[in-house]
């Protein structure tokens, strides 16, 4: 085993802690309470370790830090090697933040018959371990392995604990991602063979592969690029391979939807940055227009469909699709400003959309499980606090200045303009839509007179539900007129949301810690891809070694 830099044990702990946690929690599943406490304990410990790891990280130091590596399959030069750079670090920290919150939010949820809390939380911890591994892997083979394995706990999380159409959603999710992964596998092998021709012996080491593939001719690069791109585009997801996300989000339990949108999808955009740009710079430049078109299409398409959604959970999925369009735009606009914007967008989207999903989950659990917008109305009268946090999460999602998302969206747009003015202008329209869909949703659910089947015992306003609503769980019994006992946020829910609100405002006003951590990695990515900034700013200049 070889290690380099300090704090390798921190990264090892980050990988092992959730794994051990998953094993412990599944062993304790007989007793709900102990299992839940153990899960929470492990996830909080993981978050603490993530913070320590961040404190040990030197932004100005080597690109990959806290690394360790040992042989796995010597015949193919496969290693188990992990390390973090600035982008991976902040993503791991966000995972560490979201998992305890998800566990807290799902503390009192009812699970389907025959399922235990212990089983549910242990799968979540397992998923956490695998996603941390995906972000930290520095061996491309290992990355692929974790990329595929990651699907299995998620498949069971959706399929075992989800809503009415969970089987369909779980299989669709799995097949989409698995197909993407397999196509990526072809490219992974292609890179390996290329390295074998070049160096005499194939390797999967990321840093070495970057050196080798980097110089391959354009035609080769394009094929290899496309293999990776399909996998990441499905994961991210970009239009037109996004269709699994609305189904998966709609059917997944709320906590799982947070992980799905907040973390798993980021693997796609992370892959753009870590694999596509440095490994295939020529192809990236050649195919950038393709990606930009898809990105902008995602922004507009996601926004339009979010506006038209009648189901809150599907609404969340389309909001995310629009946001992923922005992230992809920022990455493929090829300026350090836009790329920094995209990286921070990845984090801020996890925080803002994560919170939005959690809050919507709280709304839905108060409405007896219905996720139809039409079943709600005037809820602010019953639950003013809940209405307040929904508004905060919503405003952050529409990038109101002062919230965290504004910083990143602004950076993306301003940084993308010089290289891709037309795309940027079209994408800006998405911002207007964002205000429309968020505020309209808020208005329909929270404002006006108290109404809706889920809140008061009336007949549904819109008549029988139509197909698109989908995933409507059991409606509450429609006893006559009486208002149900719907309570405002309890202490646990406040505790879950408070850190997110703090971060939304905090990172909105003072984004420096995150920017400082990711900037060197973004610069390194720009340099590796041989990109130069279209406009040199006075404060920050891209300096390549």
């Amino acid at each position: 085993m070889t290690t380099s830099g300090t704090g390798s044990w921190l990264l090892a702990a980050l990988l092992l802690l959730p794994l051990v946690g998953a094993a412990v929690v599944v062993a304790l599943r007989g007793n709900d309470r102990t299992a839940k406490l153990a899960a929470l304990g492990f996830s909080v410990a993981e978050f603490v370790v993530a913070l320590v790891s961040w404190a040990n990280f030197e932004p100005g130091g080597a690109r990959l830090q806290q690394s360790f590596s040992f042989d796995w399959i010597p015949a193919f030069g496969v290693h188990i090697s992990f390390a973090i750079d600035g982008i991976a670090l902040v993503m791991i920290a966000v995972i560490g933040l979201l998992v305890p919150l998800v566990i807290g939010a799902g503390w009192a949820d009812k699970l389907p018959e025959g399922r235990t809390k212990g089983g549910f939380f242990s799968l979540i911890l397992l998923e956490q371990a695998l996603t941390v591994g995906v972000f930290a892997a520095t061996d491309v083979f290992l990355f692929y392995v974790l990329f595929e394995i990651m699907l299995i706990p998620m498949y069971f999380l959706i399929g075992s604990y989800g809503g009415a159409r969970r089987q369909y959603a779980a299989v669709k999710f799995f097949l989409y991602s698995f197909l993407g992964g397999l196509i990526m596998l072809a490219s992974v092998i292609g890179c390996y063979v290329l390295a074998g021709d070049e160096l005499g012996k194939g390797t999967f080491d990321w840093a070495t592969l970057v050196q080798v593939v980097h110089d391959a001719p354009l035609s080769t690069q394009i094929w290899l690029f496309l293999g990776f791109f399909v996998a990441f585009a499905i994961k991210a997801p970009l239009v037109p391979v996004h269709t699994w996300l609305p189904d998966a989000t709609a059917e997944a339990p709320i906590g799982v939807a947070v992980l799905l949108v907040g973390i798993l999808d980021k693997v796609g955009t992370f892959g753009f940055l870590r694999y596509l740009l440095p490994m295939f710079p020529l192809a990236s430049k050649e195919l950038a227009p393709l990606v930009l078109v898809l990105a902008v299409a995602g922004v507009i398409y996601g926004s339009l469909l979010a506006t038209g959604q009648r189901d809150m959970k599907r609404f969340l999925a389309y909001v995310s699709i629009a946001h992923f369009g922005f992230i992809a735009l920022g990455i493929f606009a090829f300026s350090s400003q836009a790329m920094t914007g995209s990286v921070t967008y990845m984090i801020n989207h996890s925080i803002a959309t994560g919170m939005l999903i959690l809050v919507v989950g709280m709304v839905i659990s108060r409405g007896g499980g219905s996720s139809r917008v039409a079943d709600y109305g005037g809820m602010a009268k019953l639950t003013p606090l809940l209405a307040g946090v929904l508004l905060i999460a919503g405003l952050s999602s529409l990038s109101l200045p002062g919230t965290n998302s504004f910083v990143s969206e602004f950076l993306v747009l301003i940084g993308s303009y010089p290289n891709a003015p037309v795309y940027t202008i079209i994408a800006t329209v998405g911002m207007i839509f964002a205000a429309l869909y968020v505020l309209w949703l808020y208005q329909r659910i929270m404002q006006g007179p108290l109404r809706g089947n889920a809140l008061v015992g009336e007949e549904p306003l819109a008549g029988p539900s139509t197909g698109t609503a989908g995933g409507v769980g059991t409606l509450v019994d429609s006893a006559v007129g009486a208002k149900k006992a719907i309570l405002d946020l309890n202490l646990r829910e406040k505790a879950v949301l408070a850190p997110l609100i703090l971060l939304i405002v905090g990172l909105g006003l003072f984004p420096k810690p995150v920017l400082d951590t990711v900037t060197p990695t973004v610069d390194a990515t720009m340099c590796a891809a041989g990109l130069v900034d279209p406009v040199q700013s006075a404060e920050r200049q891209l300096q390549c070694p």
């Binding site: 796995w72 399959i73 010597p74 015949a75 193919f76 025959g114 692929y144 392995v145 974790l146 595929e148 394995i149 299995i152 069971f156 399929g159 075992s160 969970r166 089987q167 779980a170 299989v171 799995f174 097949l175 698995f178 197909l179 397999l182 196509i183 596998l185 072809a186 092998i189 292609g190 390996y192 063979v193 074998g196 094929w223």
Partner: protein, 530 residues
Amino acid sequence: MSVISSVLLLAQEQQPTAPAKVEAPPVGAIWPILIVLGAACVGVLFEAFLPRHQRWPAQVVLSLLTVVGAGIALVAYATDAPAAGELAMKGTLAVDRPALFLWGTLLALSLGAVLLIADRSVEPGGAFVASAAIRPGTVQDRAQVASTGMQTEVFPLTLFALGGMMIFCAANDLLTMFIALEVLSLPLYLMCGLARRRRLLSQEAAVKYFLLGAFASAFFLYGVALLYGYAGSVRLADISAAAAGTDRSDTLLFAGMGLLVVGLLFKASVGPFHTWTPDVYQGAPTPVTAFMAACTKVAAFGGILRVLQVAFQSTNWEWRGVLWGVAIVSMVIGAVLGLTQTDVKRMIAYSSVAHAGFLLIGSIALTEKGLSGTLFYLLTYGFTTLATFGVISLVRDASGEATHLSQWAGLAKRSPLVAAVFTFLLLALAGIPLTSGFVGKFVVFEAAIDDGMAPLVVVGLVASAVAAFFYLRVIVLMYFSEPAADGPTVTVPGAFTTAAITLGVLVTLLLGVAPAFALDWASGAVFAIR
């Protein structure tokens, strides 16, 4: 089988000394084969001389000892075998690295298969008919279902088939290969018809397999005849030498090769020569299906690899395109028709057709990597399939095995362990990382891309994704569906079946997580061309 006798005549004409006069084998190279075939003969004598109630224990002990003993003999020889391999039996057998690897694989797999065949606790009395001569549906037939007797001839038959498979992988000339083909096939035809329950289905499977198999043998033999006409010899190396630089008619060569390869592809159940596979897999007693699916595949691909790499390497530009097409057809047929199946054994049968396509990709990558990759794939696929059929034999209702997919609904609620094991095996068949199935696919596809067959690999990957759907469907049924009220129960397996399933699952896991040692065994294998 007048065909065989005429072949034997032909063989004696051509090689008057070869089969008739057995010389002392120069080394211990062929001890494993001698042990297996010798024990098979002893098994037949057991049937003749032992009283009925002593046969089963005697046969089980004999078979297990044989497989283990042959394994020991193999290891003892392989530890200091010459790296380039050597010829035995007057040059009719080539005992080289690939042959040794395949023998080891076959012996390890048949250990599991014999354990499955020997089990008498899952189905009281064993999965085999008490007396094969009873007509299905008669009073006697109903009586034999309830009895605990079985036709213990299945054990020597298994050993004969195993011996044939071992010779098949090592055959250095086409006639030896043909005889080995018959030695391995004839016992299998019989074994297919020996199911205790659903006898009609079982007998239908046996007849179908026999008729189609005989057809394939005829193709093979005709191919041998044409190739003899072309090269003037049936030895693989001579054919290779003849094809390398002559002005002889290519028509004979390629017609002969085509017919020969059709016969081989049939045995390997490569689409479009797979039509027997679903029926036979479904009808045969499940332990026999496991044996067939695992070992026949290994033997058949062992033969295909040797024929393609030794005899036809030099002309590969002419025929590789055709086998590209065959591989694609096989993968597509396996993946797409697998989607429509409602019977779990038929589903695995179509999965085996898809896997045969993947294996063919490795086989036509005519490099060292292609060879070692295919060998490794065979090892992984064999163990996974063996354990898969082991698990299938456990899920039963009153009328025997419950193989209809709808009967598997909600299985995870009733027996979480069996469902978890089956899920793992299905994921291995789908090629999910950390299972041996993934490493197998990886090595084969890596070899193929290295040999410039990237488009074929992409087709293979897409087919894998399609095939993943039907594996997932079973997982969905087991985990996410409500169990049917009168659904099947899972039998608690006896020691034999437990051992076989455990063996398969452990190897699947081990080769998925730490495949390095087996890759080392498989790598560096080259055929002895003499």
